[in-house]
Point group: C2
Chain length 342, copies 2
Amino acid sequence: MANKVTLKQIAQEVGLSPSSVSLVLNNRPCRISEENRKLIKEVAARNHYVPNQIARSLVMRESRTLGLIVPNIESRFFASLAGSLEKRCREDGYALFITSSGGSADDDLELLRQLVTRGVDGVFLVVGDEFSDDRALREEVSHLPIPAVMVDRAIEGLECDKVMFDHEMGGYMATRYLIEQGHRRIACLVNARRSNTGRKRLAGYERALREVGLPIDARLEFESEYYIPSAYEASEAVLATDATAVFASSDNIALGLLKRLHEMGKSIPGDISVVSYDNSAADVLFEPALTAIEQDPGVLAEHAFGCMSKRLAGKGGRRAEEVVLEPVLIVKDSVLELTKHN
Amino acid sequence: MANKVTLKQIAQEVGLSPSSVSLVLNNRPCRISEENRKLIKEVAARNHYVPNQIARSLVMRESRTLGLIVPNIESRFFASLAGSLEKRCREDGYALFITSSGGSADDDLELLRQLVTRGVDGVFLVVGDEFSDDRALREEVSHLPIPAVMVDRAIEGLECDKVMFDHEMGGYMATRYLIEQGHRRIACLVNARRSNTGRKRLAGYERALREVGLPIDARLEFESEYYIPSAYEASEAVLATDATAVFASSDNIALGLLKRLHEMGKSIPGDISVVSYDNSAADVLFEPALTAIEQDPGVLAEHAFGCMSKRLAGKGGRRAEEVVLEPVLIVKDSVLELTKHN
DNA sequence: TCACCTTGATAAAACGTTTTAGCAAATATA
DNA sequence: TATATTTGCTAAAACGTTTTATCAAGGTGA
């Protein structure tokens, strides 16, 4: 392990002061002779000098580092979001600290503190979905010494930039599409108990039904966590209904459902139609390919970075910005068109 | 946005010196009266004082932060590795800087420099798989001022701690299993051109064939990148052979293959058997469930952290440690047992 | 009273940078 | 020649901590 070489050492070797070396290496406008400039650069290169960002951050009061907290990096959607966001950050010379919390507000808080204390210039937060006690987190976010952008979901009632897809609209679009295909008995399988996004998707589902005068039947609304096994468990009850279609509020939920369907020897869309959400597993082979509401994580990342960028530049008004993106319906093969029936 | 509160400010408010405050807040053995201790803690709490890690790192010369470079955080396997590793690091009070390079040696190098410069105490590297020009990277790694642990794969010939699964053994196990199930014409679809791991898996495949006296037939060895579309492209040629089974050297490759098979109306394992690799998509519904060589990312993470931990503690010998883990064959439904045939 | 300890606390240096004000020498201007 | 300007460079403060050596005051024992 080589030793780290410092400005001072370079200065020593060149026979000039640290100030001069710093000035030259940072291309600051200053009056150092051409020959000394060259010398400094050469010596720095020869010694593999790399400035110590820690020291630099301390004095510059910025680290050109941003932080991201996601509930679970192992989820495809968040991984993809993290990937896109990191790429985008790097384009602007920012490094991105990706962290994964496990989803509890306590962990979120802990991570947030870690990030702040490590001097990130701003944080992207994908938090506030689970209904754990988030008072401390809320408190912390509202007193943050750095800009924060909430992505994909939000802690309700917090004045903070937000970038997210319209989950209610997504639920509406999915259900509306099923209705248009002739379905009348439409079940849904959503994470409404523990997830704000799930609640909103459910609300969209109900709006679509109401809009065309279909009854909202509690017996058709089923609850599932965002994991495949949870949906798998919940699916049996779904299949016991007379529904001809199901709105599954996430890909994982759809996958759990599919698994169960498959085991029961039911076919999609022959026996039952399915609209899924996220479409983050789009390139994976599903049998059949899933019609789904798509939310492109890249778009989310782009807008989130945009907000952050403005804040960092000191632009961006006093009031929080709120970006709402429209999801897209991707039609594939999991929905059967019903010819007038029921 | 609240202002950051410093040690000095706390000291001011308490009416003591910064040294005293620091000493107390860090529970250093020192002689400060009980009442002042209490006072300091109270004031610090009231003001939400959080020590500035940047400043702290500068003087302590450690940041309790580690770095991770993966080729692609959007891949399930790496996401899972990153998740496990982060959890493990946090248990020991380390934060983990997760970065995703895109896979080129240049990007790896850039990220590595960023991490070092930002003062991480050590780095986990998942690099060296693609055959881009890695001389600069190699150079950098060998002169690193901090410990590095190469995970899952390695830059060949570099004296550095390594933790990885035995890829050759994996290839061998997969092929051996197919042979035991009665297959004789076994194709493989591997990323040997651009990936060391792919090469090793291929070597294992060949060893298994040799061992039982089966011919190594170049016409049965196919090349694919680690992406679904690449495998999808390559699959047509595979299916044009007389192979009764295919060893796919990653889940993504298997998925591309499946997609093609499906489109061609071929069934698995009826028409052709498949053994996949990673099993990282284990919980997803595949039709049928894939028999695969599994490498648990959690195990990888655990050992990698172990190595790092030793280095950080100054233990760990002069020589690099090399941990080789055995993958496991998970039998599911994608292989047909052939009764004496051919 | 003197010497010595103990207690409570602090001053100051250090970490590796950036940045600003200013100095000395060389050169230009009058 | 005297003055002003330019050129080349640096000293020193600052960032927010940690840590060590030291200090003053009060107490103890002889």
